[in-house]
Symmetry: C2
Subunit: 153 residues, 2 copies
């Protein structure tokens, strides 16, 4: 299966993967949330080749996750900023960071701490249920076909 076929799959994981399911894309987004915005800065921080970086930024813009903003005319230059759609990826990044903190930190401990400005404490992200506000355990979830489901084979 090729990349382009992925986004047509009747599955939200597949469709999301068609946008962010790539080694570099998630790292670019991490930097976006760290307020990195310019080509050279992404390139220097990530160590990705310029070719691939240009390609990924283009794809993220086309996907509506980033948008280009002119920050200078003469010469005309752009920076890349998260759109609202891009900002909505924050929970994904939080979940990814948390898993890495717990399972990949080594003995030196986690590289970063998150402070919740609303309450002033360092925190870990917790997935909860929008209906009852309790943490969601894997075993307590049952799946049902939704309106966008298709029966197959």
């Amino acid at each position: 299966m090729r990349w382009n076929e992925l986004k047509r799959e009747p599955c939200s994981v597949a469709r999301t993967v068609s946008v962010i399911g790539d080694r570099w894309t998630l790292l670019i987004l991490r930097d976006c949330f760290l307020r990195v915005r310019r080509f050279e800065e992404f390139q220097a921080r990530l160590g990705v080749t310029r070719h691939v970086l240009a390609d990924r930024l283009r794809k993220l813009v086309r996907a509506g996750v980033l948008h280009k903003v002119v920050y200078q005319t003469r010469p005309r230059r752009f920076e890349y900023r998260l759109t609202d759609k891009g900002l909505d990826l924050h929970p994904v990044l939080l979940a990814v960071v948390h898993w890495g903190d717990v399972h990949m930190s080594g003995r030196r401990g986690r590289p970063m701490l998150h402070e919740h400005l609303a309450c002033g404490h360092m925190f870990d992200p917790v997935m909860t249920c929008s209906a009852c506000s309790q943490p969601v355990d894997v075993r307590a979830v049952r799946l049902h076909p939704g309106p966008g489901a298709v029966r197959r084979r």
Copy 2:
């Protein structure tokens, strides 16, 4: 930068990406959470080439996300199951699914609904703060270097 260098970066996103930051891996994990366990079943559902599937399963086992369980001797055959470390990826998948539901569903609506057995309602996942239990807004998070941080350049 090569794959193998990623897992040594002092960043939980990079380290997590070194395990799951690949087009197929996230789809394999999706199927794991849907209780798919056998090679042939992954292959049929995903449409990934057998070569790549074998490689990804091997890597996930080495990473401690899946483990092989003998379900039949003569001939000896294995199935792949999520370890506790793998089950801990559930919030990542929930976040990914939710983003896809919101931003990639098209007019037919989401392909799947999640029921929270603890409360009996259909739900969306909500990222909350472990300290105050309130939903976490992007703008309300400040980052600080943790014990595993390194100063650089």
